[in-house]
């Protein structure tokens, strides 16, 4: 049997013609969700149109741009009018768009919104179920792809912040068929193994790439996980169901590592601050006690018996001194006065008058005679002179 052998180009041309002759493919309206949308600098727009059942590559050439009235973006649900033709060079068929119009919200987006609302109503996002992320985790579990940027980012950040924290990776498949099961298994395995905190995530990608993190099974596994979970899916702007149900959402895998792994050097510094503070306080307290002791010693010496005795003794000595002073002064004064008085007394002495010829007269009883009326004629009187005495008889009373 003779074989016909064709070149690749011939086959592609043949298929291209088949498409070209198909009336329906020449003008067709296709609805789907926009993904991998790229505005090329040439003015052409390349994108993928997809739904739950499949995907088709699409292009809108710069010359047809008037058929697009809005800025098309990822997740837009659109109706594309155009033709389906074969691109011979790649052997691919694609949709050549002439008009693109919006068709409400994209279906993946709708699915996302519906699940989000359902889980929210079940209370799976409720703050009271959120577990606190341990500040000083010793073992950090990671569920992500063993290849790719996410695991490297987490590893780098962790070893920079604290090389003494143990990272344990569950190498998961994070996109495509089987991703959901793989992520769920990873969460359960690490939860069972026992880690202090769990990072679940992946690097950036299209909404389809991240879709596993929007599945209910993954959300449930995170919700049921006894270990606190940090979600880290894609970039800052990507938000998945996993982010809502996780105990903490990190904008990126790097950020998740920052949240999960405490900084060793900060803790070391804190420990030395505590040490210095305690040493300082101890020294201060010892110093205070020493001062208090000195103070008590002074006070005690005042009230002790020895102290009292010493004080009394000195008081007694002081009194004795005063007394002595006082006595001496008094004696001197009295002596003085005596001298003065004896001088005056000498001047007043009657004996002294006798020496000048005065005499003292007494009667026979020795009583001084001062009045002539007390005497009668014939009485004997004694006359006492300066030297010696006389007996005289009264002869006349004058």
């Amino acid at each position: 049997m003779k074989r016909n052998i064709y070149s690749v180009g011939q086959v592609n041309t043949y298929i291209k013609n088949m498409f070209a002759q198909d009336f329906m493919l020449q003008r067709i309206c296709v609805k789907g969700e926009v993904s991998n949308c790229k505005y090329h600098t040439s003015g052409h727009i390349y994108f993928t149109l997809k739904d739950a059942a499949g995907a088709i590559g699409a292009v809108m050439f710069a010359g047809n741009r008037r058929g697009l009235a809005f800025r098309m973006k990822e997740g837009d649900k659109v109706i594309v009018t155009g033709s389906i033709e074969v691109y011979e060079r790649d052997g691919k068929y694609q949709l050549y768009a002439k008009e693109i119009e919006l068709d409400g919200a994209g279906s993946l987006f709708q699915k996302f919104e519906a699940l989000k609302q359902e889980l929210a109503e079940m209370g799976m996002f409720a703050p009271e179920y959120k577990q606190p992320i341990p500040k000083y985790a010793r073992r950090v579990g990671v569920v992500t792809a063993p290849t790719g940027a996410a695991v490297q980012d987490i590893r780098n950040i962790a070893s920079r912040r604290n090389p003494y924290v143990q990272l344990i990776l569950y190498p998961a498949q994070v996109q495509g068929e089987g991703a959901v099961k793989s992520i769920v298994n990873g969460i359960r395995a690490l939860d069972a193994l026992g880690v202090d905190v769990l990072i679940v995530g992946r690097g950036g990608g299209s909404i389809e790439d991240l879709w596993a993190f929007n599945e209910e099974e993954v959300a449930r596994a995170i919700f049921e996980c006894r270990t606190p979970v940090i979600s880290a899916v894609g970039h800052e702007t990507d938000t998945t169901i996993a982010d809502f149900v996780a105990d903490l959402r990190a904008p990126t895998p790097s950020a998740a590592a920052e949240m999960a792994v405490f900084d060793y050097f900060t803790v070391k510094e804190q420990l030395s601050v505590y040490r210095r503070r305690m040493e300082l306080l101890l020294r201060r307290n010892v110093e205070q006690a020493r001062m208090r002791l000195a103070n008590y010693r002074t006070k005690l010496s005042y009230v002790s018996p020895a102290g009292r005795l010493r004080e009394n003794r000195s008081y007694a000595a002081e009194l004795e001194e005063k007394l002595k002073d006082h006595m001496e002064k008094t004696i001197l004064e009295k002596k003085h006065r005596l001298a003065l008085l004896s001088g005056r007394l000498e001047g007043l002495s009657p004996a002294r008058k006798l020496s000048q010829g005065y005499a003292w007269v007494s009667d026979e009883t020795g009583k001084a005679v001062t009045d002539a009326a007390d005497v009668t004629v014939g009485d004997t009187l004694s006359i006492h002179l300066w030297k010696g005495s006389l007996k005289a008889a009264v002869t006349e009373i004058v």
């Binding site: 341990p134 063993p146 590893r155 003494y164 143990q166 569950y170 026992g194 060793y264 505590y274 305690m278």
Partner: protein, 72 residues
């Protein structure tokens, strides 16, 4: 294992206890005996903290299908 972290107080708890010790030591009416006892207990807590930091560099481990851990 996380059980280990639960049995002995973790860093967070130890830090709280250290703060408490320092607050007590700051009281100027504290007795010298209490002050020494607190200091001693604080130094003990610092030792526990350092032990928890466990300064042995860790290689990332991978959890296998059969549940075994090996180096990444």
């Amino acid at each position: 294992m996380s059980e280990r972290t639960e049995q002995t107080p973790g860093l967070e708890k130890l830090f709280l206890q250290l703060e408490e010790i320092i607050t007590k030591m700051e009281d100027s009416d504290i007795s010298l005996d209490d002050s020494f006892a607190l200091y001693q207990s604080g130094i003990g807590k610092l030792k526990q903290c350092n032990a928890l930091l466990d300064e042995v560099e860790k290689k990332m481990l991978v959890l296998n299908e059969d549940g075994a851990l090996e180096e990444f």
